[in-house]
Symmetry: C2
Subunit: 338 residues, 2 copies
Amino acid sequence: MSDSAVQESGQTCERNLWIGIDLGGTKMFAAVCDADFEILGRKRKSTKGHQGAEAGVDRVIQTIQQAIEDADVSLDRVAGIGFAAPGPLDLIDGIILETPNLGWRDVPICKLLKKEFGCPVTLLNDVDAGVYGECQFGVAKDAASVVGLFPGTGIGGGFVRNGDILSGSRYSCFEVGHIRVHPDGPLCGCGRRGCLEAVASRLAIASACAKAAYRGQAPKLKEIAGTDLSDIRSGALKQAIKEGDSVVEQIVRDAARQLGTAAGSIVNLLHPDIILLGGGLVEALPELYVKEVQNAANDQIMPSFKKSFRVCASELGDFAAIKGAAAWAKKKQDEQPA
Amino acid sequence: MSDSAVQESGQTCERNLWIGIDLGGTKMFAAVCDADFEILGRKRKSTKGHQGAEAGVDRVIQTIQQAIEDADVSLDRVAGIGFAAPGPLDLIDGIILETPNLGWRDVPICKLLKKEFGCPVTLLNDVDAGVYGECQFGVAKDAASVVGLFPGTGIGGGFVRNGDILSGSRYSCFEVGHIRVHPDGPLCGCGRRGCLEAVASRLAIASACAKAAYRGQAPKLKEIAGTDLSDIRSGALKQAIKEGDSVVEQIVRDAARQLGTAAGSIVNLLHPDIILLGGGLVEALPELYVKEVQNAANDQIMPSFKKSFRVCASELGDFAAIKGAAAWAKKKQDEQPA
């Protein structure tokens, strides 16, 4: 149904390619996939969110165009685009509502891209896309129910159950960074206090580590990245731990434990088969994260639920979200009445 | 499909009645429903959990038998039984796993009742049953997605989405009382610290109010119920507030706010259309609860999600769970392949 045939200069060409694009705080990444979701061409570009939404959408369009060029296919073979963006999103009207890390508000991305590329565009949350990708093609292939927790600048979440992404009637959901874990906790980017991402995101970790570096408690980190939060990224944390900064390791472990306690609360609520961890921090330190989250979650869950779920790290890296977005676009088109 | 005809002494009688039973910490309540889930007969009995599981199951059997007698129908017209119990539950094998408030463990209730009554028995969580009942017959009839929060001795939760109860692959879920809301909070009945029900259940409220009564800060409550937690029930709290115990009102409002903050976290996660409040405490003080929970939830949710959900109180009282359990038993039987 989705692979409609179109007539072009006397030839029939099949619309059976799918584009997935993942809009992140620092970079955007697009890929053209064939009907089996093998990647034919791709393009990465920095997001430059500070330049505003209009310039950002232009960069999105260029990124998609260049991925199509890289795949060496014609646009009229593209059946649809799946667009993964940080939430909250209006899924019915295809609008990016709030992106604290980009500063964009109320961007009608689906309408804009449909006008440019002439094919249906499906919006979904970026972590949902990553979880859906791992469920379709990666580490979570056999699981019925998967909760994704992706600590980054904030903490993104996603929930895929029986092949479907959980969402509200209109809005994307699973804003796991904004569950409250501490009534008097530190101020969060959302303006409230004690949200999970205020205590366990990479930004929270970087902030604590910068303080330690400044004090002289993390000499390796100071050497590698200094005390500017913008430079204290996942790779620098990994290297500092490797070179013996035990304070940095303790700070990361504490944050991973807080994430694990929240994971335990979520297991008590939703009982997924898998807690899937992803994002740059987890990719840099997968063993530390999987172990600390599993242990802390076990400490929080009901005794009956023990051993009923496992914690694992994403294995497709940043391909999970683009392949997931492309596959989701196809699924949504397939579901539409003929 | 579910209404199979059976042959009995030359006559055909239709198996089209459904029994719902709700097992609570203090009482059990069973009803026989017709095909439209109108109640034909019912029976309430105290649970007497302390007498142990074996005696308890005998009381369950008597309660069902007496509800059938009250309905004045023959057993062979009963198509199925829906059994609502506090979780966690093993839904595949039909086992009640842990009931801290009854002290029962690993009770294979479905097998026991099937042997007794000769019809299929479906197990479900009690709050799920209440939410499902309100979705089918009550205040949540038009909602696609409903989260139930029922503060009682503990705090039960349920989640119904698109006509389906959310559960794990094997176990019931939505143990909302055991999400952690305070890292250093008071000890919970589950042995951990800072769980929602350790700070916001009726037991937590009663404990704080007993202290106030003992200190002389709640003179009306002391007159009405004394300082024994077993006597500080929802009705006593309501009356003390009505008669002017402002400390009691403040304690209940604080607990309702904590429940509301958790509700806000859950809206950020799951984005239901309705947060449904139920149980004796909410039935006694519906306006206070709806208002405090709505306000505290609004303080915690993402700005984009505001006005996208409403908080309301259950309207079917303890009929919600028995009708919900009966209707769920029918749904599960209808879904089975012929």
